[in-house]
């Protein structure tokens, strides 16, 4: 699938949310008991609740969650297929990948239920081409499920990209405590995964400069940033540039992330 298509799918789901009113919130609460709960509480507090839980389920929040869901579908499918590929993952490493796979599956479930809670419509899973061939099945990672080194390289690519993707969206979720906190709580899990996969590849768990190794440079573009809140951190701390770049992970925009994963989405 090309980038425009991915964005238009997310946009289409989002459009439905744009006319979402308080009245819709009550209506869509249906038989869940939410309607009763909202009706039973004082008007002022109900207004607060609907404001937080629904008015903010605006384009932005649902759009961000559907974006995250797309990435989690990708990761979840990738690890499921990896674990099923016989002879791919060495016995000694299966515990690690089983744990990661379980988390990605749980993230899919959590995001779907959160989007539903907001009255949104979760996007369905795209079809993936883990060779990076955009559907051809003959991309640059054609041996992804037969060569462990390739599988590990893509695992690192997806995890480090995932960390950057969630980080880049935090500001768009500020209006909603539960959603922001959940997103942050997924973000740190992806970072743990990334560190462990990097360790399996005998790399440091943290990112030095914008070192991409043999992976596409776009995945690590900007990781060599030394300026935070206008402070030149190297100058302020007297530490090496390498260490300063390791100490801060950098965000990616939604567009940057989608262009990184585009070759893997049919």
């Amino acid at each position: 699938m090309n980038l425009e298509n991915i964005i238009s799918v997310i946009d289409k789901e989002t459009k439905k949310e744009e006319q979402f009113t308080r009245r819709d919130a009550f209506k869509s609460a249906g038989s869940t008991g939410l309607k009763v709960a909202l009706a039973a509480i004082p008007l002022g507090l109900a207004a607060t609740l609907t404001k937080n839980a629904f008015a903010n389920s605006s384009a932005t929040v649902v759009e961000v969650l559907n974006f995250a869901l797309t990435l989690e579908y990708l990761e979840s499918k990738f690890y499921s297929m990896g674990l099923l590929a016989s002879g791919l993952i060495p016995a000694a490493d299966r515990t690690i990948f089983t744990q990661i796979s379980n988390h990605e599956g749980a993230h899919v479930t959590t995001l779907i239920s959160t989007i539903n809670s907001l009255g949104g419509t979760p996007v369905s899973s795209p079809v993936f081409d883990f060779t990076g061939g955009n559907g051809s099945g003959t991309g640059p990672y054609a041996d992804v499920f037969t060569n462990y080194a390739t599988f590990l390289a893509l695992a690192q690519a997806y995890e480090d990209t995932g960390v950057r993707a969630y980080k880049g969206q935090a500001g768009n979720l500020q209006s909603n405590a539960a959603v922001l906190t959940a997103a942050l709580s997924i973000h740190s899990v992806e970072a743990r995964h990334a560190a462990e996969v990097r360790k399996l590849r005998t790399l440091k768990g943290w990112i030095t400069f914008a070192d991409a190794g043999a992976l596409p440079v776009a995945i690590y573009a900007g990781e060599d940033n030394q300026t935070q809140l206008g402070v030149n951190v190297t100058a302020a701390t007297g530490q090496s540039i390498a260490a300063v770049t390791e100490a801060f992970d950098e965000p990616l925009t939604m567009g940057q992330v989608l262009s990184i994963v585009d070759p893997f989405i049919v």
């Binding site: 690690i96 959590t110 906190t181 740190s188 970072a191 943290w206 530490q239 100490a247």
Partner: protein
């Protein structure tokens, strides 16, 4: 052994934190409570006594963005002090790999600390040279040092995850995000040293398996966990 016991206590404390499935009911409850707390925070912010960040003999975390940044700054000072001591004299038997991991982390934490020192204006900043009581940690013991490192990193991640919502400035929130994922990487690396090739790098003790969410906790939950290491009184108007 005392440290391991303490670690266990902390772990059990953590398991009572906010990590549970995000049901619609919880979701609404949580959102509503947070909204109420935020409203309270804003009114506190107007109190004069709330604006003194360094009361005699202690530090005060104000109910605003500076309060959250100072909270992070205090935690980073603690971590930096701990790792500085670790690398000043490694426990016996530390492998070159372990030393390289701990040296890297020590530098990262010092960078985080000194970044906050520069980024937070002096008038709004808690004291820079906080002293800590690390006497419960046996720095000659691998188990004690790595156990404490694990607890500090996990606490840091939980703290940043739980404090994010209380930051109003989006740029500050992004910087907190830039730091917390590095803390999570640290934790995974330390946990891998303690139990290589296991699921512990992202263990079920910190991540709820049913929803895949890492623990998060409000400052008022985290502060009592770290307070035993502080030698100054901490007052906080944060939620």
């Amino acid at each position: 052994m005392d440290d391991l016991k303490k670690d266990e206590q902390m772990t059990s404390l953590f398991s009572n934190a906010l990590a549970k499935p995000l049901s619609r009911k919880d979701f609404l409850k949580w959102t509503g409570v947070s909204a109420a707390v935020m409203g309270f925070g804003i009114s506190l912010n107007g109190c004069k006594s709330d604006t003194v960040v360094n009361p005699v003999g202690g530090i005060n975390l104000t109910a605003d963005d500076f309060g959250v940044l100072n909270y992070a700054y205090a935690l980073e000072q603690l971590e930096a002090a701990f790792y500085a001591k670790v690398i000043s004299s490694f426990y016996s038997g530390a492998s070159d790999y372990e030393k390289s991991v701990l040296n890297d982390i020590a530098v990262h934490e010092a960078i985080h600390r000194d970044f906050f020192k520069t980024a937070i204006p002096a008038a709004n900043r808690i004291t820079d040279g906080m002293a800590f009581n690390l006497s419960s940690i046996d720095f000659t013991s691998r188990a004690s040092v790595l156990g404490a490192a694990k607890a500090f990193e996990d606490t840091g991640v939980m703290a940043y995850n739980g404090a994010g919502y209380y930051i109003t400035n989006a740029d500050y929130l992004t910087v907190a995000g830039k730091i917390v994922s590095v803390e999570a990487r640290h934790s995974a690396a330390i946990r891998d040293l303690l139990n290589p090739k296991s699921a512990d790098f992202a263990g079920d003790d910190v991540i709820t398996s049913s929803n895949g969410l890492e623990k998060s906790a409000k400052p008022s939950v985290v502060i009592p966990i770290v307070a035993p290491y502080f030698t100054v009184a901490v007052t906080s108007s944060l939620p």
